[in-house]
Symmetry: C2
Subunit: 632 residues, 2 copies
Amino acid sequence: MRKVYLSNTPRQKALELLLNNAPIAGHPETVRVTDALGRVTNKPVFARLSMPGYHAAAMDGIAVKAELTFSASDQNPLKLTSGDKYINVNTGNPLPPGFDAVIKIEDIQLLSDLKAEIIAPATPWQHVRPVGEDVVTGELIVPARHKLRPPDLGALLAGGITKIEVKAKPVAVIIPTGSEVVDPGIERGQGSIPDFNSTVIASYLLEWGAEPVIFSIVPDKPEKIRQSVSEATEKADLIIINAGSSAGEKDYTYPVIAEMGEVFLHGVATKPGKPTILGKIGSIPVIGLPGYPVSAYMSLEWFVQPLIFDYLGLPVPKRQKLSVILGRRVVSETGVEEYVRMTIGYVKDRFIANPLTRGAGVTMSLVRADGLLVIPANSLGYEQDQTVELELYRPENELRHNLLAAGSHDLVIDLLATTLKERNPLMNLSSSHLGSMGGIAAIGRGQAHLAGIHLFDPETKTYNLPYINKILPGQKLHLVNLAYRMQGWIIPKGNPDKLKDISDLVNNKLGFVNRQRGAGTRLLFDHMLGEAGFKPDQVYGYEREEHTHLNVAASVKAGTAKVGLGILPAAKAFDLDFIPLVEERYDLLMSDDFFKSKDCKTLLEIIEDPFFKEQVEAMGGYSMRDAGKKEL
Amino acid sequence: MRKVYLSNTPRQKALELLLNNAPIAGHPETVRVTDALGRVTNKPVFARLSMPGYHAAAMDGIAVKAELTFSASDQNPLKLTSGDKYINVNTGNPLPPGFDAVIKIEDIQLLSDLKAEIIAPATPWQHVRPVGEDVVTGELIVPARHKLRPPDLGALLAGGITKIEVKAKPVAVIIPTGSEVVDPGIERGQGSIPDFNSTVIASYLLEWGAEPVIFSIVPDKPEKIRQSVSEATEKADLIIINAGSSAGEKDYTYPVIAEMGEVFLHGVATKPGKPTILGKIGSIPVIGLPGYPVSAYMSLEWFVQPLIFDYLGLPVPKRQKLSVILGRRVVSETGVEEYVRMTIGYVKDRFIANPLTRGAGVTMSLVRADGLLVIPANSLGYEQDQTVELELYRPENELRHNLLAAGSHDLVIDLLATTLKERNPLMNLSSSHLGSMGGIAAIGRGQAHLAGIHLFDPETKTYNLPYINKILPGQKLHLVNLAYRMQGWIIPKGNPDKLKDISDLVNNKLGFVNRQRGAGTRLLFDHMLGEAGFKPDQVYGYEREEHTHLNVAASVKAGTAKVGLGILPAAKAFDLDFIPLVEERYDLLMSDDFFKSKDCKTLLEIIEDPFFKEQVEAMGGYSMRDAGKKEL
């Protein structure tokens, strides 16, 4: 029978269990100081030699015997002869024996190669760099548990230390498991998943100071997993098994660890990342990570990062915090702590944050995230417009340059984002796919800088303006054309269902994949349905929603839908056929504040740039004939 | 004749000159995604494949055809047979053809291996992970000029990208120059300086994403420097010459660059770091850095970091800012911007900052610094107790655990600092060497947690208490013994001057090295002088001041002083002789707030730990018989 339940242990308690029961043992090692950047000291280090090792001239000039210069003054300049009375010195030269002061080159008058005149006395030891000024023998240079930075290495070498005892990097063996998992370098077949988790896990471990070793992919067979873990115990200071950590039929990570060692915990009360296993084999900590990428990386950060930092003796670095206003409601279930990835923009002097998808399988949500919202286990979530605190992935000062694009998704917005970053590395364009209607609402609430919209008004046969006037009457807003684009049927190559028009779709019950409520493309479909005299419940698949053109095309490609409505480049991306239907106007709606800003100027410059227009039209299905034109 | 003057160009203008005249050319290169952590994209990257590439079960359970489950309810459980009505699936399995929903394992009752019962209908596409949910073909994964983080690599691999075009790391050739400079691995002779700058410079460059190459050390000979620079131009994207950048007799960096290429700037209006050279040879930027370590690293950060980041297309990271209260006055000359290294402690809910030495040759000031105070060119500096803004080297949350020790310097304080860090990596003990009198004053102003003091009162023949009562009458303070320690004459090995007592020192005019005003050791010397009936002006070298015992011993070792007063371990560190004179009490003075804190408890636990006492006594000259005893 399949084991079904996981424990619901709070994250902090789970971490304590791990640190108390299975800390990393590790060992010290000696490395050359010249190679020690970023390493962590195992013991305090005291200087062996002084730097400088002698009294040195601190200025370019002449070395003198101070007591022989006491008579010098403006009125009575003193002439000195080279050799016994003065010696030329450059910065860093040892002070010649018997001399005890340096006079700067600017303060002397050279009368000849061998004669100098001064008009002020020197005080003993002036402009002399005493022995040990930088580092003095016996001085503490760095304490134990210190992560070595560039100047630390300089001070160590200055203090005569060329080798240093540091904590050896813990060897972390990563064992990827799963019969469906294949090497990311291999062209994947139907039903196979590339092992990208191992690369991400190894990269985090590298950043945290461990030495990752990725083992070969192991199929879901207990004896194979056991064999791989057994090999890992020969070299590892820490073993990470990914995945098979849940309680399903083919999840063998728990039984294997339990059989070879001990499991302290199976299941943590936080999402995503709940199906985590903490255990040990011998004295080696073993962590079973979930298979979903976001879950795996979250769990890695909760447990493996503190485990490594505990061994190194360093505090786990904390993320910067920032108070933000929620652009949307974020609900959560009680009893489980939840981590939500968020985008952040700086609109009208306020930080506005919106949740990204909460799917544990969406790596892109981590790529796009600017911060994390942690919802405690006892909370039901937060309302729109509520102020909450986020942990930041990017520094606050960079987020101040984040532009928030709400509204409809279009590939031109992506192109705009990357072009913007190429022009000004500080700038960033974050998109929230709210659909055209959602975009207008976000602009109305002052929670976005711009919104892509393409809303056809059947009455006036025009785009966008009727909706803006109706939804946000009287507001001072600006509307700028981004592009015209062709919408059409996205269908399998060769049109196997012989689709001609919307009646074929309805009458032949072709599986349809729709867009989400509020999307301009959905309104367009509804309008076309109505024109043809059909009702939504006559369309098979009307309820099935995707959020982007590309995702609609992906469903058609996968064969789970026979047709979708979308733009040409989406069909091209999947090598699908496309029946053009309507050329629609895609505009950018902007607040008055943003329209007058320098950032907007940069944006408009890009939109009107001939090279940018060329790039857009090359994608197919776009016309940039009015790009940058003011529509309102 | 020697060229004397450098220009006084503002730092920002100098940087503009460099970026406009000699940006790094560089080139793109293609690397494997699995090796691309931290690299910077040269172009936007779009997904080649979708992840998942098929519709997949999002839960462990059974795949069903939704429309066949619509009749299921509590009252009317529905029995399904395996094969045509349901198929067992695990998370990640492809949805079998013809099936369109998944029911979770928790929601089914398995009646046998081939029969399952459900009590609720499935909605179409429930618990199904649609194709492209994570990454969809054609989607923008990362823009250009993006520094790749671990999850970015995951998304790229998920999107079928295994190789990626990134900016090649710029090759930065470092040319160390100086006839006195030797390899740090070589035992240094009189007048030689180890080349630790190259290691520090290379380490910074590594952190900033360049590829440093350290050339062999070149003596101060123009033809040798020319030859080395010429070799560098064959492979470098950037050349750094260290040092010879000033305008002295043997500073050849300027003439060499000017002859082989062009110099834009010689001299920047900021200290330390003024003698910087910016130029180019062909199209390769060439930077001449000053020789003093702090100057070199500051200049590197002002010019080379922005040069590299400009090439990579990344914003230069900004340091966190923090408002602090100055524990001491910091003066500055007008006309020159100044960077002052500072220590920071968190005393009574306020951040207190004190300047470290401003010597450009003191690498240790960068090792000890918690932050930087930038004094603008038009400012004369700041007064004690004034609030100023610092740039932080360490995060604010860690600085909250920084203990400030003011007062007398003792090696036991260093040992206490490193032991504290070993017990709690978050804690840090920063020392400000103010001398015993300065330490009492700092405690009085609420600007230190503790102060080491050892002040002998000749009247009462007791230590410390009479001074505290006189200087801070009526304040609630605590005094805890740290150690007893032996003070004595530090003299050359074998006592060549046959020193027996203080009258030998005076009568034989032995060169003396004193401690700074306010130091307990200086007061002890003054007391001994008075007891013997001598006056300060009878002591040759009375005005020569050092700030620590070790620096006193270093002067004796170097032969520039014949005798100093200090502690035994300082003499031992330099293999000098020591004539014991007085055993003195060294106590820690603490504010009432600090004494009651958890941090103080940790500190006292260490002081009373037998292992710690043993370590201290092993240094020689210490007795820990009363360590931890309350004296007030």
